[in-house]
Assembly symmetry: C2
Homo-oligomer: 437 residues x 2
């Protein structure tokens, strides 16, 4: 990975630190300042993609030429960039765990220039994946046990984003994805039906249904809303009966009043003895629409969720920061209006009942009855332990979700659990502040 | 590029078409159904990234194994995937041109399975880049000639997204970017100042300013809001005078009341004879805040714009569709509620005064006094002509923007120019619809 995947100021600051021998250990905390109003909790994600990046971060000869010729770095700077390897430690709340605002998701301790140089990529990937995980979980909660399927690939913010969205939505309980490369890469279940274009390419809707069912009898989910949804359902029923389709065929409705249309469709299917035929809906869905449909009792077996989950449409980012909290032996903080940070290297401890987190100094004694959240994921520049399987992270997520209070899971007016600081953290904050004023 | 970067149903439908010999020429239109309420126009982008992808799309042996072992495609299907090359034509509104909803941004004519197989990637990339271009241009308009700088890399939806955002924001007039790799890859100007961590790593703010100015006298923009903004400005002034800094040093304010603080800072700088020192602001800015600051007359030389532009925070996607409009000689359309499409292969003609577009059938005579917008960018599977330089696309964008009526450029209540259909398009629509009912 090229070290140029960063903001210019990281390079400039690192060069300045090196010139001045400012190589003491620094700790940076990556945290979310505040939750968006429609989020009662976060699901940590993104650190795993970062670890590979950090471990492989290098400046090759071509990079160095660009640093010299276009950015004006000196021969001595170039030598430091050439020698650069990340040698530090990283602690993180593991992927899939519930996390909250105001506590470190990631904490990096390394010689100052190294910790500085990985800022942009860490922030980017952890912000993005945590944003998507924390949105996708809302769709899963809304669906109340019905299948939720990732249909987002066509409108994510780029191709790589689409692959990440498929992985992260699977982490929080999406059952399948339409994204074939993501399915291959991450061992997910690929799924799909047919597009309106398929229907239109045939002389009539029933010809298209018949052709598809003949070609793929095991995966026939008929898209019924191209022309007239109820007539589409009737044609699907005719083809299912005509061909005696086995397995679990389905119909998909992608437009219109989904509550009304799914009830009508279910009645038509049941009257024809097709109780086993599944109903899938899609079309610009988000968690609030899913919630309305589920609460209303619409007979829906699976929700295809695309764009609004895949870009986290109502809040497509999180207010993350990567802040220096100590350098050498000195705790540091900033006092910028609305952005005051808390100094010191810390650990986070969780209590399940009542659910809440406590931020303590790194070297404080562990409080009784609480579990530490930050785990060491990199030691002296090497990943610590193997990369967890998606199934392990998903199990961890499910265990955490089960403990989360209902108020935090509420979709419309969520209330986040509390995050408190230990007296020692508060004291350090007060002392550091008074030293600065 | 692996052909697996797609939705599963594209593969399924293509296989079905191949089995049935449905290889006639099909035309698909990629268009935006409706503009978000805060957009008066779009800036077309994304097609250039797609052309390389489409031209190089292949299914290699490993892909074929996955298609067989995990997805159950037959030996005959695999043979068709193995032979796959895109051999069709693509027409597009060139990057940088102003575009509107309801007109094709891209039109693909190719044998049906080929046109179907490129859907997901085309939609993804054109949607994403057009979304960002159409958001970024609003920041440029708001800044009214002041510099706008891309600071988004740390919170874009992934690393690749960050590179694309830097390119696309430059296309619509951003002056510089903090993204070093994007600067190298696309020939942009990289820029940067310093982070709060740099200030905090030194014993005092003035030590940090002095160190930075000594190390990089040519690029010293002092971040003044770490502790107390006005005292930060005073310290920057002291260092600038002490070291007799040449060139164009600057200060950056990243928090607080930017209108008030920039006025106070400007007065302090001017009183010290430092009229040439620039004032840069940043910190969660979007086009509406920029507009307020500019209209209020705040003495700001440059705006650093990050997250809200880089994810198009108020509307992070566009309501795009890729719809079959004819197959063989037959125009087709869908009638789904709220998503009715218009049939037929088309061209778009533009009149500048009054500004408005007219959609006509592909083989209609060109209307007088209007310019065609769709240009052929791929012919028989090969890119037509060379990839335009970013500077050319930017010049095209600037020419279009200059012609756009003020109502379309309005930031708060934009009114989009009209898009009309020719009588022949309307007739074809009515006839096709009546044939379907």
């Amino acid at each position: 990975m090229t070290g140029l995947l960063t903001d210019l100021y990281e390079l400039t600051m690192a060069a300045s630190y090196w010139r001045r021998g400012m190589n003491d250990q620094a700790t940076f905390s990556l945290f979310v300042r505040q939750l968006p109003s429609q989020r009662g909790f976060l699901v940590a994600a993104g650190i795993e993609s970062c670890l590979d990046f950090v471990q492989e971060l290098r400046f090759d000869e071509e990079d160095l030429r660009y640093l010299r010729d276009s950015l004006g770095f000196t021969a001595r700077d170039l030598e430091a960039f050439r020698r650069f390897r990340f040698t530090g430690d990283i602690w993180a709340i593991p992927e899939g765990r519930v996390a909250l605002a105001g506590e470190p998701l990631v904490q990096v301790t390394a010689p100052l220039p190294e910790a500085q140089l990985i800022e942009t990529v860490l922030l980017n990937q952890v912000t993005f994946e945590t944003t998507i995980a924390s949105k996708a979980v809302r769709c899963v909660i809304a669906a109340g046990g019905r299948d939720v399927i990732d249909f987002s690939f066509r409108r994510t913010q780029g191709i790589e984003a689409g692959l990440d969205v498929a992985r992260v939505s699977a982490l929080v309980g999406f059952a399948r994805t339409s994204n074939v490369e993501a399915a291959r890469r991450y061992g997910l279940v690929a799924t799909g039906t047919m597009a309106h274009s398929y229907i239109e390419a045939f002389p009539g809707e029933i010809d298209a249904f018949r052709a598809f069912a003949q070609d793929f009898p095991g995966r026939a989910t008929f898209l019924v809303d191209t022309y007239d949804t109820i007539r589409g359902v009737e044609r699907a029923i005719a083809v299912i009966k005509e061909l005696g389709l086995q397995g679990r065929p389905g119909i998909r409705i992608d437009s219109g009043n989904l509550d009304r249309l799914t009830r009508q469709s279910r009645r038509l299917l049941d009257r024809s003895g097709l109780e086993h035929v599944r109903i899938v809906v899609s079309g610009g869905l988000d968690e609030l629409q899913i919630d309305d449909l589920v609460r209303g009792g619409a007979p829906i077996d699976a929700f295809g969720v695309g764009t609004r989950m895949g870009v986290s449409a109502d809040h497509p980012y999180l207010d993350t920061a990567y802040k220096l909290v100590c350098y050498g032996d000195r705790p540091v903080m900033k006092l910028s209006r609305g952005k005051v940070t808390s100094p010191g290297r810390t650990q986070v401890f969780r209590k399940s009942r009542p659910f809440g987190d406590l931020v303590v100094l790194y070297d404080e004694a562990a409080p009784a009855g609480r579990e530490p959240l930050l785990e060491q994921v990199m030691e002296k520049g090497r990943r610590k332990g193997r990369r967890p399987a998606l199934s392990e992270s998903r199990a961890r997520f499910e265990a955490d979700l089960a403990l989360l209070p209902a108020a935090a899971r509420d979709l419309r007016e969520p209330r986040a659990p509390s995050v408190r600081s230990s007296p020692a953290v508060q004291r350090m904050s007060a002392q550091t502040r008074s030293g600065l004023l």
